[in-house]
């Protein structure tokens, strides 16, 4: 049974098919908005990969469970159960981490892109032209350039930016998309001031986040400090121990 499960574990295609069966949906071209999934999966944009990973994790869960039932006794059984739960939730942890990483990438890139955009708007460029002139290689820049391409190809600006805001659900990104939507209706005059305020807010947010993380890092630094102190302690006690043994 375990051998069968192990062989099954290697076949990604079977999982993909199984995933489609479980989700009761067509294999391709299903918009992510139509399926009820968590915010993290929406951000990561990898529903198929997530389902495949989840099924793999479930098989791993069964494998460990079977091994635990047949071969493990006593306290080790508790460890096995812990491992089973960890394996089952591993894809979720991975997806959440990836989602957080994407959020950080967006927040990190936003002030620079908005500053450039604002300067280009100030120079008299129309919004779509200004976005297409952005040369930054960051994640946020790629996102808005993708949206801009859709707008140039005839899609409504409010729909494109509304979808972007819905997909990522990041406060600052939502504000940006609102400014872009209002820019289409009212022109770039107001957008300049709003972009400036948004840029300032993101900088402040970024600064506060860095302060928080550096505080957290200070706490974590206790571990290497302890390691160094242990080294000093060993160096101090070693001669004493040697002398003690010499006397004895």
């Amino acid at each position: 049974m375990i051998l069968l499960a192990y062989l099954f574990n290697r076949n990604y295609k079977i999982y993909e098919a199984l995933g489609h069966v479980i989700m009761k949906r067509k294999p391709i071209d299903v918009p992510i908005n139509s399926v009820k999934v968590s915010q993290s999966i929406k951000r990561v944009d990898g529903l198929d990969a997530y389902i495949a990973q989840k099924i793999t994790a479930f098989v791993g869960f069964l494998e460990i469970g079977l091994a635990a039932v047949f071969f493990i006794r006593g306290l080790a059984l508790a460890y096995a159960i812990g491992l089973m739960i960890f394996v089952f939730y591993l894809p979720d942890i991975k997806v959440n981490e990836k989602s957080k990483e994407i959020e950080n990438l967006i927040i990190n890139d936003m002030p620079h892109v908005i500053l450039t955009l604002r300067l280009l708007l100030l120079a008299g460029l129309p919004t779509t032209k200004a976005i297409s002139m952005l040369k930054n290689e960051g994640y946020f820049n790629q996102l808005i350039r993708m949206c801009n391409t859709k707008v140039i190809h005839g899609e409504s600006m409010s729909k494109v930016y509304g979808d972007l805001s819905y997909k990522y659900q990041i406060q600052h990104l939502t504000r940006f998309t609102r400014i872009m939507i209002l820019d289409e209706k009212n022109g770039s005059g107001d957008s300049l001031n709003q972009l400036e305020k948004l840029c300032d807010d993101i900088w402040m947010y970024k600064k506060s986040m860095i302060v928080k993380r550096s505080e957290a890092a200070s706490t974590k630094l206790l571990l290497p400090m302890m390691m160094s102190l242990i080294g000093v302690l060993v160096a101090v006690t070693f001669p004493a121990i040697v002398q003690l043994f010499t006397i004895i």
Partner: protein, 228 residues
Amino acid sequence: MKSFRLSIIYTIVGGLIAYTFYRIFLLTLLGCLIGFMIGIFKKPDTRPLLLMEFRSMLNSVYSELIVGQSLRTSLSVTLALNEIRHKDLSYAIVTLDKAINHGISEVQAWEAFAEKIDEFYVYQFVSTLSATYSYSGNVAEVVQHSVVALSDAIDLTLEVDIIMASKRMEFHIMTLMPLILLLILSINQAEYMMVLYESFIGRIVMTCILCLMTIAYLLGKHLSKVEL
């Protein structure tokens, strides 16, 4: 000069580590040599200085623009009145001024300047400038606004850099303290600590402690990296 100063500091630290742990002349010399090599190959971070100099240059250009000078004249006046300490920036500005005075188009000259400096904010300024030349006539006004926006952004970037630099400093002091403690003990209580330097087991213990401290340093360096 800064790189030389850095390599001297690394030489002293390398020598001290080797002396504290082994007290062998050849190994101390080797520690000094390794420290010196690390100091030579490690490039000092000149980005904050570059940003500060670029910001002061922009502000100087801005103050000339306010009184009604053209961008070209503002740049020449800035160059004449200010001393720029960053070598690359200074060289690039002189080249830019010469290029503009020799009749090369301003956009081309500024783009060459941005390529030489290779800094995000310089690129931003130049891209705005080239867009202004292509799409709008009022260069002075746009440059004035850009200068204010870029100065603010550079200020904030430097503030964030300072927060991170203070944390890095804190970490370096925390790492060096046990080492200094060990050095003081080995000098102050030389007779007591002699076992560590003379017996075979003592040497092994010191090597283990050195490994432990190196691991602690690398771990601390990894943990103290603050990124958003």
